[in-house]
Amino acid sequence: MTLQDTSSTSVELANLTKSWGGLNAVNDISLSIPSGSFTVLLGPSGCGKSTTLRLIAGLEQATSGKIIIGGKDVTHASPAQRDLAMVFQNYALFPHLSVAENILFGLKVRRVSRADRDERLKRAAEILGISALLERKPSQLSGGQQQRVALGRAIVSQKPICLMDEPLSNLDAKLRHEMRVEIRALQQKLGLTMVYVTHDQTEAITMADQVVLLNNGEVEQAASPHELYTYPGSVFTARFIGTPPMNIAELHGLRDAELSGPDLFPEAPEDALLGIRPEDIELSDEAGVAARVEATEYLGADTLATFKVGSAQLVARVPGRKAVKTGDTMKLTWDAAKSLTFNRTTGKRRDVIKPEELQLNPA
């Protein structure tokens, strides 16, 4: 590792494990979160996202492994020593204190001067548009406003690292979208190192510089949203990202269908799985595989159509104006370069499988 500059606020996790009883909630996670980046910890419920975040915050003690913040080993440091802010899922506002007192709680604890406090409060309230609410109690605020107060607490602390645990999950869809944009803008404006936990892949894809997909306490894949979407490293990733997710179909099942024109199917062992995004599939009059419409779901701008192709199923996103009816037969085609193949036994993408793995699991 190169010399760390002291102002850096990168977060490194090295072989981090947390277990309760026999269960490893976080299992040997190694991860690098660059300074000033927006990193999202994504995964299904119970996969260890919150535990990982709480380990970084110092609210849980690691069973083994290391946590390094800004080049310093903080594995055994108290939460306060780690110099970070955290926004909780339920906001953790003090119900008996006014909005202003809630936001200033930490500054008072740390004996920040009065003038400085007032200045920071004013600025944060302006940024968040809650200047009119400062005298209210949390119970007199809507969910969205409470959320802003919790953000305000993180902003005035002026800590370089901010942790958020599903901060938007209690808001309605419209507000969630607004706050997504706002939080991302805020992070960039303040240059924060953000670690953000969510189970919502849309949030992850739209906000993150880096998405860390967790599965059963382990890192399934850590990559940029684009890479995660286009080149999922495993069937799990492919099925988790995207609405609807990537089609994963048995190659030999697809091959049962009648094919005209150029070959759409890659060279691969018989039992490999083919992955193709619904929006990459096109309806065609001339060449393609024969398919029959089994079900349709009208979404307004487009329609999701489920096709029977050979003995496999594929979902395609069909432009709204094209009429597809259940029972219709037509031809499907796609750019073969956009399809991926996965090893059925390991679930890994085939071109990332190392030769030695192939020998262990002969295809």
Partner: protein
């Protein structure tokens, strides 16, 4: 028509409860006040209206002043002490410590036991010579034996200790329940901000417990005028009324001396006293209490 019918139904439904409440609460209370203006009927002599004569007697009755002073000291000592102790125990038990349910159980035990039984246990502690306290005093420190309940100086304090011991466990349950409604994330948020345990207690926990404190303190006040079972078992109010409390005195006047009019007068005083304290507490503390 239906409106009227509903109105009748409403009253019919209320009727049984109202009769009970009137017969056993309201009527006796009013009768007590009326009786305090009459003389005690004796034999063939009927009660006759005496105006404020009973109240004059009361003002000139040294025993009344004695038990009132006793009761005030008793309240002044037991209320804050039992509240403080119960809060302390609740905070301790609320922490994640090993064998916590056992500790909780043992703190709560005095509350489950009837006061008479508790009094018997303490009677043994206080027994001169071979009681627990004297055994420790004599065995470890070589001090002479002491009659804790026989001395005017110590007897009231002994009664206070029993009450505090009995009440703290009860109040602890309320504090514990209130503590468990405080989300753990508040403590975590404060920890990340660098707040120490004591800062967190004074800035967050204590204010959030204020409604419970109000509730508990009203109960403590009422209990300090109401719980006299242990006086019966342990001292009978003696020696020389040194451990007698207002309610115990009322009992004596009414059922030992059979002076019902004077007992009614004392009861009126007790009721007025309790109402004033409860009202005062509500108005004084309401402003400082945060209700969620």
């Amino acid at each position: 028509m239906t409106q009227r019918l509903q109105w009748i139904y409403g009253w019919l439904l209320l009727f049984p409860a109202m009769v009970m409440l009137m017969a056993f609460t309201h009527v006796p209370a009013v009768t007590t006040v009326i009786n305090s203006f009459f003389s005690t009927p004796r034999g063939r002599r009927e009660a006759k209206f005496v105006g404020l004569a009973n109240y004059e007697n009361l003002i000139n009755d040294p025993t009344f002043w004695k038990v009132l002073t006793n009761n005030l000291w008793y309240a002044l000592a037991t209320i804050p002490a039992s509240i403080f102790l119960s809060l302390l125990m609740a905070l301790w038990v609320n922490d994640k410590l090993k064998g916590r349910s056992l500790v909780r159980m043992s703190f709560f035990a005095p509350t489950v036991l009837p006061l008479i039984a508790v009094a018997n246990i303490w009677l043994f502690f206080y027994t001169p010579g071979f009681g627990l306290i004297d055994q420790i005093r004599m065995g470890f420190f070589g001090l002479p034996e002491n009659s804790w309940l026989g001395s005017q100086e110590t007897v009231l304090i002994c009664m206070m200790v029993v009450t505090i011991w009995k009440e703290a466990g009860f109040f602890m349950i309320f504090y514990l329940a209130a503590l468990q409604t405080i989300p753990p994330s508040l403590r975590e948020a404060a920890a990340i901000e660098g707040a120490s345990r004591s800062t967190f207690f004074w800035r967050v926990t204590f204010p959030l417990l204020m409604p419970t404190t109000l509730f508990v303190s009203i109960n403590a006040v009422i209990n300090s005028f109401r719980m006299v079972d242990h006086i019966f078992t342990m001292t009978g109010g003696g020696p020389d009324n040194a451990s007698s409390l207002l309610l115990f005195y009322i009992y004596e006047v009414a059922f030992k001396f059979w002076d019902t009019a004077y007992a009614a007068t004392l009861t009126v005083v007790l009721l007025v006293l309790l109402s004033l304290i409860a009202l005062g507490q509500f108005f004084f503390m309401d402003r400082k209490v945060h209700y969620r």
